[in-house]
Amino acid sequence: MNDETQDRLMAFMDGALDGIAAQRMATRLQTEKELRDSWESQHRIAFLLQHGHQGVLLPSASFADRVQQAIAVELAPEPVARAGRFRWIGISSAAAVAVLSASVVLFGPTGTSPRAIPAQAGTFSALRTPAIMLPQGGDRFILRPVRLFGGGPSRSSEADLLIQRDIQRIWVPGQRRLLSAGQAHRQQAQETGSAAQAGGLLAVGYGYPSGLGLQQTGYGSANGNP
């Protein structure tokens, strides 16, 4: 350390530096380890000279570092990826609850609502399998209709099916509930064939070239009821 730096450091410690010079010295102290060590040593020896004969407690060499670490830990932001993931899950969960509630209100128990879909209608235009292009340029996925879950539709409750379908069709980033394009196409082909045989299904396939998130759904039955 040269004489000028020495003098400025001592003047700063004494509060004798003017505004700009004091700011410069503070910046240097914050960034130069050698200067910071000198600052600490000068204060420590001054304290020992003033109080050493009384018997003193000496802070361990790492005391200041531990304080800094504790402060850094306390102020560390939550990891972004983790926070983002939970935020998406939260949003998705809320959306699922909303859809569920809406479905229950609209359709109610099977056969009691005027808008209830007749059980014999059997199939829905939900067999459409819109494609989703992931923005990362990754795999191409096609949402899998709810009918393809669990080995075919249950005829016992159409409202339940609708609810299940809407829940399943909610796209949750990071959640692999979606089938790859090949799988979905194969299953769609099988399902379309069997459903068409069973109830004269109007199966329309179309894609969303860049759609993300919830897809549009339209309800309709083979017999034209809304």
Binding site: Q6, A26, W39, S41, L49, L57, F63, Q68
Partner: protein, 211 residues
């Protein structure tokens, strides 16, 4: 050797150091954490020994001192400079020590003393648990090494640092006594402390190692 400042009298230079404290505080308030590190390094010995007046176990005292600094950091945004930073910090340290004792179900050894009193508390030496045989020996060793280092200093350095640290004179007053510029006084004191630090370094390392 007479030790005026050692009896709790604040060296006059510390008052003027309040300006640099305020500058560092303002930097911390702007979000520069490194500025707080400088304040910790400056006041760690004082705060630790202040806490040690209440919390007699050295390890506990260090933990409480650390906690006091963290509390000070949290509260620094509300520091308006109505009092000197060290007065404000010492108050936090005293409260931290008292709270620690209360949480432990222990009686506060000294009632209703403020930070300034705590530093000057004459009976403090009798209260300290760290006045163990090892602690006493260490204190004597430090004193012996410091006295030896002081005696080994060139006269101009020895006089300057003695007037400053033991007699509590300001730089201006020392410059008048020694008939030299203030800058020369600063340089002499700086070099004297560095020389003493070199002598004490092995002793301080030993303390760290034993912990």
């Amino acid at each position: 050797m007479k030790r005026t400042a050692g009896r709790g009298q604040q060296p006059k230079g510390e008052d003027s150091g309040a300006q640099s404290d305020l500058l560092l505080v303002q930097r911390v308030q702007k979000g520069e954490k490194q500025a707080f590190d400088l304040l910790v390094r400056k006041y760690q010995s004082r705060v630790l020994n202040l806490v040690g007046r209440f919390v007699r176990n050295p390890e506990e005292a260090e933990d409480v001192a650390q906690e006091a600094f963290i509390k000070a950091y949290r509260a620094l945004r509300s520091f308006r400079g109505d009092s000197a930073f060290y007065t404000w910090l010492y108050r936090i340290a005293v409260n931290s020590a008292k709270n620690h004792l209360a949480a432990q179900g222990r009686q506060v050894a000294t009632s209703d003393i403020d930070a300034q009193d705590a530093e000057q508390f004459e009976g403090a030496e009798r209260l300290r648990e760290y006045d163990t045989p090892e602690g006493i020996l260490l204190g004597k060793e430090i004193t012996r090494h410091m006295d030896g280092a002081l005696q080994a200093l060139p006269e101009d350095l020895r006089v300057a640092v003695t007037l400053r640290e033991l007699e509590g004179l300001s730089y201006d007053e020392i410059a008048q006594v020694m008939e030299c510029p203030v800058g020369t006084v600063r340089s002499r004191i700086f070099r004297a402390r560095e020389a003493i630090a070199k002598v004490l370094a092995p002793l301080l390392e030993q303390v760290d190692h034993e912990r």
